[in-house]
Amino acid sequence: MTATVPPVAPVDKPRRVKRGSVIGNTGLYVSIGVAALLFLVPFYLIVRNALSTDPEITGENWKFFPTNPRWSNFTELFHDTTVDFGRSLFNSAVVAVLITVGTLLVCSLAGYGLARIPYRHANKIFYMVLGTLMVPPAVTFVPSFVLVSSLGWVDSYRGLVIPVLFSGFACFLFRQYFLGFPKELEEAARVDGLGYWGAYWRIVVPNSLNFFAAIATITFISGWNAFLWPLVIGQDPSAWTVQIALSSYMTNQVVNFHLIFMATAISILPLVFVFLFLQRWLVQGVAQTGIKG
């Protein structure tokens, strides 16, 4: 695209490069703009359908946007009795928050112990943790379900939360992170008479909040979006999470498009919030972990 730079006319160089880059830039922004529009189409569909009436959605001609956006679909959804969407929303919030808090607590402690506290068998135990990474959690859902149901935890928060807390991957990430944590800080705490426990809570955790936030956002997202495990555990509608409720809309006999899409919109709203306002930590977390859920 840019012309070869003539060796004898250095004055000409900046202008030519600039002109080439203007053309290149326009092409770049056009192509990226088109791609961005395509990526936004599903969001457009959600918003359009969520604020329409059913006749507007199923009408003869494509209606680009409802003439009078129906915000009342929101209240109608929560008064709908076929699926208790409010309940599922509450369940999802409780489950995702508990999973996030629990995973951070349990896995960070273990990661710190494996990284920093000398113990003869620490390496063997670390390999035991690494070994679980070889078996993807989605594949063990059959035996996990068998175990959880024999504990009587089906249809309960315990069953939805506890079995997913012990993520070998999160533990591994925390260990790697703590290995790089400056030792001097802890030694200073040690001199001040703090034990491992005190140093951990007063020095290590307050100085690692960025990393905790990154892991927290990723854990929250995968907890909120999880489908297979809640599907297996949440058999009674009272234990449904948002994802199960959405899934049930797709197989229901009665189809109320406007309510279904209002529900979809509400279900992704918390995560859109996370994406827009916590993106710094999220991007950091993704770059550090390279894996989701």
Partner: protein, 320 residues
């Protein structure tokens, strides 16, 4: 745990490790502290990861229908049953087709987006957010939009509306396996949902390429564009590319959500996990065969991981 017995052994070792630490009895012992920090996790890991895996292995050798405490040992029968079951082997074929589409497509799209976004001077953060945003959607929400609005088989679906403007008849995207339009639905869904995520990984890697390499290439007469991309960018991204491909293959193996929701009640397009779900938790509740299938699937994933790990060199440390 057995802190009191190991205390005497651990003490001298820990005293060596950090001599600055004051002696404070049991609470200062590093063995005690090690278990204090790790035992909640390790107990949970044992109960909820190791026990299910072991139980599953055990079940896979028994005839276990409607029961999880079977008594009839059948050896490898469940495994032969699963391997001869056309549904299960068919699901492996489904996965292979799926992976053959989705892995190269996601790799190419996410790399392409990363290259575009990386060149932006203005609104870089905006475009990055737009492509990353679909990751916020669950597969269920996306499946709902794809099934009930975008690729709805009826006249008022978005795709059928657009095709209608060109005089094309309605297409039953999901309800008809022949021609297999459902692949288009499934692949576009996952592509849309995943591409931004891997784009972030590629962006991070692109920013780590030393600019001197490009300067050196320019001096050597390499033209910007394809030549520098082919000989500098692509080789520099090799570690990330391999990692991304490995993650994509593993993710494809575990595909469940969108297949389950898009193709509920159909008999076609079932990947392995959906098939296992119906085997173990469906009407037959055959935990023996379901467990055997899970073991087979785990072994397959393991083999793929190890083979790919040869190229990758185990771990992603080299990206940093």
């Amino acid at each position: 745990m057995s802190t009191t017995t190991t205390r005497g052994v651990a003490r001298p070792a820990s005293a060596q490790a950090s001599p600055a630490r004051p002696r404070r009895g049991l609470r200062g012992s590093s063995t005690f502290n090690f278990w204090l920090f790790t035992s909640p996790f390790l107990i949970g890991l044992t109960v909820f990861v190791y026990v299910p895996i072991g139980w599953s292995l055990w079940l896979s050798f028994f005839e276990a229908r409607f029961t999880v405490t079977p008594s009839k040992f059948v050896g490898f029968d469940n495994y032969w049953q699963m391997l001869q079951d056309s549904k299960f082997t068919g699901s492996l074929v489904t996965f292979t087709v799926f992976a053959a589409f989705i892995v190269p497509a996601t790799w190419a799209l996410s790399l392409g987006l990363a290259l575009l976004v990386n060149r932006l001077r203005f609104m870089k953060a905006f475009f990055r957010s737009v492509f990353f945003l679909p990751t916020a959607c669950s597969y269920v929400a996306a499946a709902l939009v794809w099934k009930m609005s975008m690729f709805s088989g009826v006249r008022f679906g978005l795709m059928n509306t657009i095709l209608g403007w060109f005089g094309v008849e309605n297409i039953a995207w999901l309800a008809n396996p022949d021609p297999p339009w459902y692949w288009l639905v499934i692949v576009t869904l996952r592509l849309w949902l995943q591409a931004g995520f891997y784009m972030i990984l590629f962006l991070a890697a692109l920013q780590n390429i030393p600019p001197e390499l490009y300067e050196a290439a320019a001096i050597d007469g390499a033209k910007p564009g394809w030549q520098t991309f082919r000989h500098i960018t692509l080789p520099q991204l090799r570690a990330t590319s391999t990692a991304v491909i490995l993650l994509l293959v593993i993710a494809a193996y575990q595909a469940f959500d969108e297949f389950f929701n898009l193709l509920a009640k159909t008999t076609w397009g079932r990947p392995p996990l959906v098939e296992l779900y119906y085997t173990a938790l469906g009407e037959s509740q055959d935990y023996g065969e379901g467990s055997a299938g899970a073991v087979i699937l785990t072994l397959l994933i393991l083999i793929v991981t190890l083979v790919q790990g040869k190229f990758l060199g185990f771990g992603r440390g080299d990206d940093k």
